[in-house]
């Protein structure tokens, strides 16, 4: 998942002023001209420019005609300040069809204004239109900023456990485990 990372971890601070109301960037389907600011935003947040990756995502998810795939941007007066990408996946891991959010990001200058919430709400509306009633995502457990965001939106740990292994280690362990 492409997600933002916390530059300053939240801390137990004193009271802050009340949260601002969502400023209201328009949420709309991505256009080809949005790719430059998206590549730049991703590069700024992750420190790695992945132009080919974003071109590929645009080709696969950029068509508004495919209701099961969504690539939305937050447009604040002509400036792209965020994006979200997701799709409906059928029977993946044996689960009934559900929406997956696999990328979300908001420009650091535009955070704390409800943009992430609006992006997530918009993609969830699309998932409902596509006929699913559940949304899932997955991200690194050290990505506290985005974990906290999804938690604040009401998401909870789901019934799946992500697993991984080092392939080199597996090769050197020929007798590893059931099932066979």
């Amino acid at each position: 998942m492409t997600v933002t990372r916390a530059t300053q971890p939240p801390s137990a601070g004193k009271r802050e002023s009340p949260p601002r109301e969502p400023a209201g960037p328009a949420i709309r389907p991505v256009r080809r001209g949005d790719l430059e600011p998206i590549v730049a935003l991703d590069a700024r947040v992750t420190g790695l420019e992945k132009r080919d990756y974003w071109e590929s995502l645009y080709r696969r998810y950029g068509s508004p005609a495919r209701t099961e795939r969504q690539f939305l941007v937050a447009d604040a007066g002509g400036r792209v300040v965020g994006f979200v990408i997701g799709e409906v996946r059928d029977w993946e891991f044996g689960a009934p069809p559900c929406g997956w959010v696999f990328a979300i990001d908001v420009h650091p200058d535009a955070r704390l204004a409800g943009t992430g919430t609006r992006l997530l709400e918009a993609i969830c509306r699309g998932f409902r239109r596509a006929g699913v009633s559940k949304v899932r995502t997955m991200l690194s457990r050290d990505n506290n900023l985005v974990l906290s965001f999804f938690r604040s939106q009401g998401m909870m740990t789901g019934p799946f456990i992500p697993l991984e292994m080092d392939l080199d280690a597996a090769e050197s362990a020929p007798d590893a485990g059931a099932p066979r």
Binding site: P10, A12, G13, R15, N144, L147, S148, S152, G154, T157
Partner: protein, 157 residues
């Protein structure tokens, strides 16, 4: 996962205070609600006050009130004040921990701990209060009798 009694008391308390930061709540009120000893709770509240999460208000109508930031303060921030998450030092190792089986078991337990810590770090008090509100709405909806379109009660099939 089991939290120590003091940790649970601290979480109950900060959530009570954070639910209405303007309200002063007495230790006795919280002790009564959660059926704990006021003396025990007082120690926990004084720890929270020392950390600046609550402040005591003296006089008539006094008690404690929330002094933190519910949108920033996480469950982990509170839990860390009362639980020891660090690896035990050499003198405090459990028997068998250094054996191959002990080390393998330790790896599994550490995996579980890391997931638990990530979960606690990702949940702010504001998020917990929203979760609480959702649960209460869900319970209220479950208790409400089913009604037909004309408002009359509908019998379950």
């Amino acid at each position: 996962m089991k939290l120590q009694k003091n940790t649970r008391l601290a979480l109950y308390s900060v959530l009570e205070f954070a639910a209405d930061p303007t309200r002063h709540i007495s230790a006795a009120e919280i002790a009564d609600k959660y059926e704990v000893s006021p003396h025990h709770l007082a120690k926990v509240l004084s720890e929270l006050a020392r950390a600046g999460l609550v402040e005591s208000v003296r006089g008539v109508g006094g008690g404690y009130r929330f002094a933190g930031n519910a949108r920033r303060l996480t469950l982990m921030d509170v839990i860390e004040m009362f639980e020891e998450f660090a690896a035990p030092d050499g003198d405090r190792r459990e028997p068998g921990e250094r054996t191959p089986v002990g080390r393998a078991l330790g790896a599994v337990l550490s995996e579980i701990d890391e997931i638990a810590k990530a979960t606690f770090r990702s949940i702010t008090l504001a998020t917990m209060l929203r979760l609480l509100a959702r649960q209460q709405r869900g319970q209220a909806a479950a208790r409400a009798p089913e009604r037909g379109r004309d408002g009359s009660k509908v019998k379950a099939p």
